[in-house]
Subunit: 193 residues, 2 copies
């Protein structure tokens, strides 16, 4: 006999994501999440040992989705440069908007016990498709091998966040796909052979 | 007759900065700040109408210091490229370390009523010396006029934050002056004429 067969992990994660995003990690409680799922606290604890593990899984699910979308965007594009543009454009579509859930949630990671390592893992998962594309570009001999792929990815993602910050600080604009192109142009011309 | 002649604005700002940095904006109270200054609440309110204005002045003072340090670092350097390196190196020295007060404090800005515009003003003040140096480089004809100086500054600062993020996610390392050089090299070669 399985307890609580009617409430699946995914449904709990959906509800938890909404509450964490709206109220923040600290304010959202297991009781509230259970209430909104229409089940008892025990039904939640059946799937997740505590609030922290539930939150981490919400984050992980997000990072995986973004990872998959970025991978898909770059697939079947032969030109390494265009592949990097496509991957970053997908990234821009996700981070455009200060209220993108992944950033709303990430801001709450400071409440967790080991935020540094968690954040590192999430960033790794999100950067991976970009790192692979940069490796390919380096192997093709079109760009230099320094900075290394991980640093190059950090530089590119940083440029987009810098532009996002700049746009948001100004007239509340958001970054656009043109910004992804601008970052890649600068990057490419900066390290092409 | 001036009330509370013995407690100056600067002393209050010093104490407030320590408490905001250690406990966060929300937890630090005027009562606590007054206590640590050895004065009554009224002595604080004599200088600052409320906690928000006190916090904003702490932030503003920080931004101005960083602005002045960056300006000084770039002064008397004739080469536009080297001037940009010197300014960014000063910036790196300040942001190295996750616990740099300016970032600790900035994280608390979400509690303020108009965080977007405040943040924009602070970033503008911090970016200004860099923007001026980029303008000079563009006027000298050594680099292209696109991206514009504001965007170029956002790209450069973004690269450094990206590297910082990358370093912190890894083995808890910090970015170094080499990273400032790496960002400028990439940037310069990316848009040189």
């Amino acid at each position: 006999m399985t307890p609580h067969p009617r409430v699946g992990r995914d449904h709990i994660l959906d509800i938890a994501e909404t509450l964490f995003t709206e109220h923040g990690y600290k304010s959202a409680s297991i009781r509230e999440i259970a209430h909104d799922c229409g089940v008892t606290n025990a039904a939640i604890y059946y799937h997740f040992p505590n609030k922290e593990s539930l939150f981490m899984e919400v984050m992980q699910r997000h990072a995986e989705r973004l990872h998959d979308q970025m991978t898909l965007a770059g697939a079947n594009i032969d030109s390494p440069r265009e592949r990097i543009v496509a991957i970053l454009t997908t990234y821009v579509d996700t981070i455009a908007g200060q209220h993108a859930p992944i950033f709303m949630l990430r801001r709450n990671m400071k409440h967790l016990k080991a935020p540094g390592s968690h954040r590192g893992l999430l960033m790794k998962s999100i950067s991976q498709p970009l790192i692979e594309a940069i490796k390919l570009a380096q192997q093709s001999g079109q760009i230099k091998k320094k900075p290394n792929p991980e640093e190059a990815a950090a530089l590119l993602l940083g440029m987009l966040h810098g532009l996002q910050h700049h746009a948001a600080g100004g007239e509340g604009k958001n970054i656009s796909q043109n910004d992804a192109q601008m970052a890649v142009d600068l990057f490419w011309d900066g390290i092409k052979k």
